[in-house]
């Protein structure tokens, strides 16, 4: 670890503080591209700029947002679209359980506010921080920068996509599955926990979805693909030990 020495004397912690802030802001800028891709995908699926923006403001969890517009874009029903967004949103419930000790959750208003920013990125930032105060700082700084950039780039992506036509529209259509693949990709890499099992589940999910496509209403096959989770098998004993 590059800054290990600095962390160990973190009582003073100003270098650590600035590194936490830098990481938080950096991550905010990095998700901006995904925000633009989401805005474009939302418009391609038939949402208007206001609806795309409302999703980034109110839903504010990328994979669920992509899933909702992806299912609508495939001709799926509202129920199938909301269902797949909720299935992907269950991750955030687990994150919340991990973060509850670290975050400002005393008092109903703080809890309601903190909850909105519990996502992949803020969880990663908070858990990586060396102590509780810095975890809170990482959560707030990361949440704020991601929220601002994500919403701004959603508008830009939606406006940009709305102005396209012809071959540019075909380009946009090809960008949407590529964006899903980019969201999936890190989970299949060797560094990810149980990557081989993740790959098996991913292949299973794709096969189930394609096999059901001719027979079920559009979008339902995406939700049905969740049965592929069974391919993961039982929880590992070692992972259960406290």
């Amino acid at each position: 670890m590059r800054n290990g020495g600095v962390i160990r004397v973190a009582g003073v912690s100003s270098p650590v503080r600035s590194r936490v802030l830098r990481d938080a802001v950096g991550l905010g800028l990095a998700v901006g591209l995904y925000g633009a891709a989401f805005g474009a995908a939302a418009v391609a699926a038939g949402l208007d700029v206001w609806q795309a923006s409302a999703m980034s403001l109110l839903m504010f969890t990328g994979a669920s947002q992509f899933a909702l517009v992806g299912v609508l874009g495939a001709g799926g029903s509202a129920l199938a679209a909301v269902g797949s967004a909720l299935l992907l949103g269950t991750r955030n419930t687990v994150y919340g359980v991990r973060l509850v000790q670290l975050l400002p959750t005393r008092g109903i208003l703080r809890r309601l506010g903190s909850a909105h920013w519990v996502i992949d990125e803020t969880t990663a930032l908070s858990i990586a921080a060396p102590d509780r105060a810095l975890a809170r700082l990482a959560f707030l700084a990361g949440g704020a920068s991601i929220f601002v950039v994500w919403n701004a780039t959603t508008v830009l992506g939606a406006l940009g996509a709305g102005a396209l036509g012809g071959p540019a529209q075909a380009a946009l259509d090809a960008v949407v599955p590529a964006a899903f693949l980019a969201l999936l990709w890190p989970r299949l890499q060797r560094a990810f926990p149980e990557a081989a099992v993740q790959r098996r589940v991913a292949v299973g999910g794709a096969v189930v979805a394609l096999a059901l496509t001719p027979f079920v209403p559009p979008g339902v096959q995406v939700i049905a693909a969740v049965v592929a989770v069974a391919l993961a098998g039982r929880p590992r004993r070692t992972a259960v030990a406290p």
Partner: protein
């Protein structure tokens, strides 16, 4: 889908996702920390995202269709394997999709 129905979908999905986040900060940890709950939640994204990739790339309604989207996806996979940045992956996929559209008319 009408504008009103789209708004209802957006609001219902957003409210549901928010309540899932809030639940994590509110319910007793033991409810969520069951080994099999953790197992399912760990693997739901892989199953659903892969299903979305497949459905977006090769289906249209009830049909399986091979077109520019599959070309774009193949190019994206190569770019990701070469560790290209996200923006490059999307631009290449878009270019492949547009090219396929022009070539196939």
């Amino acid at each position: 889908m009408s504008g009103t129905a789209l708004w209802a979908t957006v609001i219902a999905g957003s409210l549901g996702c928010y309540l899932l986040k809030l639940a994590g900060l509110s319910v007793p940890a033991t409810w969520v920390e069951q080994p099999w709950v953790a197992r399912v939640v760990d693997f739901v994204p892989a199953a659903l995202l892969a299903a979305l990739v497949a459905v977006q790339a090769v289906t249209s309604g009830h049909e399986l269709v091979v077109d520019g989207q599959l070309a774009g996806l193949a190019v994206a996979a190569v770019a990701l394997a070469l560790r290209a940045p996200f923006i490059v992956v999307l631009l290449l996929a878009g270019a492949a999709g547009a090219l396929a559209h022009v070539v196939t008319g």
